[in-house]
């Protein structure tokens, strides 16, 4: 049986997202959220077990920095009265609250209907990269939306960076960004790229925005393909970020 027939027989697998709705399984863990009005000690307990320092207790409430959360869910295990894991996947937010959807859309207008993406692994654990790869499988098929991968930064409109930036990748990342023509967009894919996550600050150069300017951050360890799609859509100004996220 030819590959074309085989693919046709399988029918359409592709999600309607972002035009239509999509959801992650009920059990899927997005990022942690604080539930207000629990005993102060509960928030302290959750913060004490967070390896990426994503939780800041504030009396009978806490701030959870979504871009630091690596979705382990341990805070909700040790303090279920104070933390829950939601299964929302639309978690992307702009790095700068002043960067509105309108401003992003104006910048993206220069790209026309097709957008070329360059991916750089700045020190990932390799799961984020596989989720970026998954964007091009038939379930998500970014090509249908006019989004393509390019091997050359000279052709690239958008830079997707995975991983906290290691010392050795700082310069290659900076040079890739410099080689891209303006206007250009940078999306930090995953909590490590967005915030440095669990990595010791003296072991890495830092999150991506320490090295090149970041427009949009996508929390997750790794963020599933739907989260990354949402992040790309936010960066192109085609959809607003869900909410203003506190950033660490």
């Amino acid at each position: 049986m030819s590959w074309i027939l085989r693919a046709l027989r399988r029918g359409i697998l592709t999600t309607r997202y972002p035009a239509g709705p999509a959801e992650m399984p009920g059990r899927w863990r997005g990022v942690a959220r604080a539930v207000p009005d629990a005993p102060a000690a509960s928030y302290e307990r959750g913060a004490a077990v967070c390896l990426s320092r994503a939780i800041e207790p504030r009396g009978h409430d806490a701030v959870v920095f979504a871009d630091r959360c690596f979705q382990c869910g341990h805070c909700a295990v040790v303090a279920p009265e104070a933390f829950v894991m939601t299964n929302e996947f639309e978690l992307a937010h702009t790095a700068d609250p002043m960067l509105t959807q309108q401003l992003l859309a104006q910048r993206a207008a220069a790209f026309g209907r097709s957008v070329f993406i360059r991916h750089v692994d700045a020190g990932s654990d390799y799961s984020c990269d596989q989720e970026v790869q998954a964007l091009f499988n038939p379930f998500y098929d970014l090509n249908r939306l006019g989004i393509f991968l390019t091997a050359s930064p000279r052709h690239a409109d958008m830079l997707l960076v995975t991983g906290a930036v290691t010392g050795a990748m700082e310069e290659p990342l900076r040079r890739t960004f410099a080689a891209m023509p303006a206007p250009k967009l940078v999306v930090a894919v995953g909590s490590a790229a967005s915030s440095g996550s669990i990595y010791a600050t003296d072991a890495i150069a830092g999150p991506v925005d320490r090295v090149v300017p970041v427009d949009v951050k996508v929390p997750g360890a790794p963020p599933p393909p739907l989260s990354i799609m949402h992040g790309i859509w936010v960066a192109l100004g085609r959809v607003g970020a869900r909410r203003a996220e506190p950033s660490a």
């Binding site: 693919a7 700045a122 020190g123 654990d125 390799y126 990269d129 790869q133 091997a151």
Partner: protein, 465 residues
Amino acid sequence: MIARDDALGDAAAAAALTRAAVGNGARFVWCYADVVERRTVLRYVVEENGALVTHSGVAGDVVPSLDLAAARWHERELVDRWSVRIEPAPAGGSPLTPGPADAYRRAWSPEVSAVLYGPIRSGIGESARWVIETAGEDFIAVEPSFGYKRRGLEERFVGLSVELAPFVAEHVSGATAVSHATAFARAVETAGKIDVPLRAQAARSMLVEFERIHQHLDALAKLADDASLSVGSAQTFAAKERVHRLLAEGTGNRFARAVVCVGGTRFDAFASMAQACSQSLDRVESEATGLVDALFATPSLIDRLVGTGRLAPELVREYAAVGPVARGSGVACDVRASGGAIYADQEADEALRSDGDALARAHVRRDEIRRSFRIVRNALDAAPGGEWRSHAGEIERGAGMARVESPQGELLYAVRIEGGIRRVAIRSASFQNWPLFVPALPGNIFTDFSFIEHSFGSIVAETDR
């Protein structure tokens, strides 16, 4: 599994014992350093008759080199990161430290040129760099540099509680997070003599096999893509996607992260996985196996794999390679065979091929995908009841080593605890296999590079740590 520790003598004596053991047919596994009471202790590990044997000694001013191809990168790491003086010193530049971009611009003959490939590469690849000496199409020599992704993870464990530490192990290689968390947990369980309930063992076993399935599908999809078989590649990636969806349904994470913990699993993962499997396992399996069979019936793919990156079994033994790389050259090496997996199908032989080329390694992956589904079904059928976690207190002191058959092959963790974690050492399958990638290239042409790389299926993240 036996981990025998000698009374601490001199590292030179430990090295001599190791060298002699390898001379008598033992397989070199790794060597690593630990600092105990301000002394640098070297631990050499070999496998004899299926059991791990450790020879330890305190490093003096000079430690003799083992002079084994299998040990070269390990010794390099002792020199680069632990300041151990090894004589004779490992030759050449370090493959584990990123070099300056212009360090290799030597004067070439008119025919030979050097191509710098990496660290940022085309497509969606991991960062690493190769200096390739070539005369047109042929590889003459290849010099790798790794370390671009070094993020200090072995050091990150130090001082953590064993409850949180598996999350760090999952960051060593996020794509094979279950293997890493399980190897770490078993090392701690060995150190603390902690029993793991059968129900948790069944859940871990299933999750490791699902991990093998999605990583083998990943490698095969990339090979199809290398051969410009775009529909075949896309459909194989779709089969991989189905595995991730099943895992998200059954564990809450597409790579089954934050499930394995010391003493078992963090929640009743067996129950939730059994539920997810009852809905979609048949579909996931028929898609995966059907697609992989179709790939092997596609001549344009097979033609590019036959004879590519051929490895003689002697070379595989010399480098002590593991996993599908070893098995593709007919060298048996599977942790599951030595009692690591209780649900392994006893009647099924280890997937072995003898041709040693990229096709043989792909065949091994195809056979293993089927075998992994069988192991998953065996575990589901066994359905052990009871607890999913044994409740042990915090471990005050102890040391342990354990291994897991990860998708890339044998993965080892060694842990030393003294009022908190003092040292975690990791020997990944990828670290052991990359050195063999270099001699796999000469004799092939430039466009074979990606085929050989994807037939190895090694991960840079777990190599650099």
